[in-house]
Amino acid sequence: MPEMTLIDAVRMAMDEEMARDPNVFIVGEDVGVRGGVFRATVGLFDKYGPERVIDSPLAELSIVGVGIGAALYGMRPICEIQFADFIYPAFNQIVSEAAKMCYRSNGDWTVPMVIRAPYGGGIGGGLYHSQSVEAFFTHVPGLKVVIPSNPYDAKGLLKSAVRDPNPVMFFEPKKGYRLIRGEVPEGEYTVPIGPAQVTRAGADVSVFAYGMMHHYTLQAAEKLAAEGVDVEVVDLRTLYPVDRETILASVRKTGKALIVHEDNLTGGYGAEIAATIAEHAFQDLDAPVRRLAGPDVPGVPFSHPLQDWFMPNPDKIAAALRELAAF
């Protein structure tokens, strides 16, 4: 199998889906001639033309709002928000319109669309090119929220997202775009939206993570293995609707749970996982549920030492795991 980067897998998924279905099109800022600021759409403009790879005006709400309209008509838009940090102008269209359309029309109108956005810090992007925005959307019934952590899943999940009849938020860990490499088979396959995946089986502690933090957690688990602690790692992959069974099965096995995300702690996605475990697996716990998250400051600061202070990393995850294992 060929090895490729995560962003290559994203591009390959879009390419294959556009070739498969003439209703699929891409709309966003700089996605056309430029091929996207992260190069996610390189080559697609030449291959599919300006009518299917559309450079939008510099206005996020209408990238999504126009996408919704096209989806209502039966198209399958892939809307690119250049950085997740810029998604807020589109929040009304996502939350009030895309998410509620099926319910509010009793199924008469549906919005089959994907909103792709690179998220996350550690890339020197400061407050407005580093944000993790998933928690805003995992609170919204009607949306599906997906975050891949590796090239194989990125391709398979994005293809599933394009085919999904519902609006899917697809957040890509931008620090991992070229850092995370992996084998991706040529040709057709999909990864279903919904199931989490145990990416490393272990007996002592469970870690629940996604995106870049999942990648770091695997590295931390290696360190702990050398120290004699057997860590189980669960890649959540789909944050909403979440795979509770896989989470609870893992906790029931290990009795200890750590949740890792780079979004700040309070009201973050980890709270939902912690609550789920507390409600349904309390009797199986041998230690309090722990969360390792970004600190509660308004954003990821720019200056290198400040950014390092903010970001969870393999060392911080390993430290949290040691503490939890020793409890």
Partner: protein, 327 residues
């Protein structure tokens, strides 16, 4: 443009039916039989004139909440409306999920809309984009109040349609008040149509109390859009004769004298006078129309009162397309 006597009578009939139905809604509210009504009284000419310029059922519409007369022209029935006033299961907008006057009629390509204003405008641009991508000759009509043209969403939608020469008609129903705020506190230009010159499309004003004037202008811009000539922005000026909604008291922000003065240009009165004086309609025919409207409204109320509410369990779905159930 030749408008036959039959067509004129048909337009007037839809205006009259809308008015009598709307008036009954106010009565039902005063009787305590419904919780809420938001009225289109005074706006029937603009709505009917616009609707009749479309290929109804084939062209697309993203309406707003005052569009009762428009919806009746598209095939919405008095029964449908009273069912929705009462939150009954059978109402076609939403199966009792949405407040009344939040229209949706899938069979007529009238798209579900929400309460945050101007959200429907980008959808119209997206539908227009899809029509253009598929090289079809349909058009989209999107309506809005003048206050809502202050929203960024509206500007972004018009901008999109103008850039891509999309077949979209932006109809501003300027009834001179956004709840209590008059037009001169919404915009520095004299007419919403003046905003067109800043966005690169044609803008025109029309007397929104004259159904035949609206029909004439709309027919032109619809033909233009259909033949690839791009979008237009039309302001139809009229007066909101009623308070904003059944929860509003307009005595706190406008005088009775002002309202009475504007009732002289009540579009029903204007059309009726025109039709009677020109001999298109006889007094006897008018009387027949009135009794037919009354009978239909009576029937709608009787039908809706007996109709069942949704079953409680229906509140739980369909959040996702997979949960859509067909009766």
């Amino acid at each position: 443009m030749e408008v036959t006597a039959e067509l004129k009578r048909d337009m007037f009939w839809h205006m009259l039916l809308s008015r009598r139905l709307d008036e009954r809604a106010w009565v039902l509210h005063r009787q305590g039989k419904i919780a809420f009504h938001i009225s289109g009284i005074g706006q029937e000419a603009a709505q009917v004139g616009a609707a009749f310029a479309l290929r109804r059922g084939e062209d697309w519409v993203t309406p707003y909440y005052r569009d009762l007369a428009l919806m009746l022209c598209l095939g919405y029935t008095p029964r449908d409306f009273v069912l929705s006033l009462m939150g009954k299961r059978e109402e076609p907008n939403s199966g009792g999920r949405q407040m009344p006057s939040h229209w949706s009629l899938r069979s007529a390509n009238a798209v579900s809309h929400s309460a945050p204003v101007a959200t429907q405008a980008p959808h119209a641009a997206g539908i227009g984009l899809a029509i253009k991508m598929r090289k079809e000759d349909k058009v989209v009509l999107t309506t809005i109040g003048e206050g809502s043209t202050s929203q960024g969403e509206w500007y972004e939608a018009v901008n999109w349609a103008a850039i891509h020469a999309l077949p979209v008609i932006f109809l501003v129903e300027n009834n001179q008040y956004a709840i209590s705020v008059p037009t001169d506190k919404q915009m520095a230009v004299k007419s919403a149509a003046d905003k067109a010159c800043g966005l690169g499309l044609d803008g025109r004003m029309v007397d929104g109390t004259d159904v035949f004037a609206v029909y004439a202008v709309m027919s032109e811009v619809v033909a233009k859009a259909r033949s690839g000539g791009g979008p237009s922005l039309i302001e139809a000026r009229m007066y909101r004769i009623t308070p904003h909604s059944s929860d509003d008291d307009d005595r706190s922000y406008r005088t009775r004298e002002e309202v009475e003065e504007n009732k002289k240009r009540d579009p029903i009165l204007v059309a009726r006078t025109q039709l009677l004086e020109s001999g298109v309609l006889s007094a006897r025919e008018l009387e027949e129309m009135e009794s037919r409207a009354k009978a239909m409204v009576d029937d709608a109320v009787a039908y809706a009162e007996k109709a069942p509410y949704p079953a409680v369990e229906e509140a739980a779905y369909p959040v996702y397309v997979e949960e859509v159930r067909r009766a």
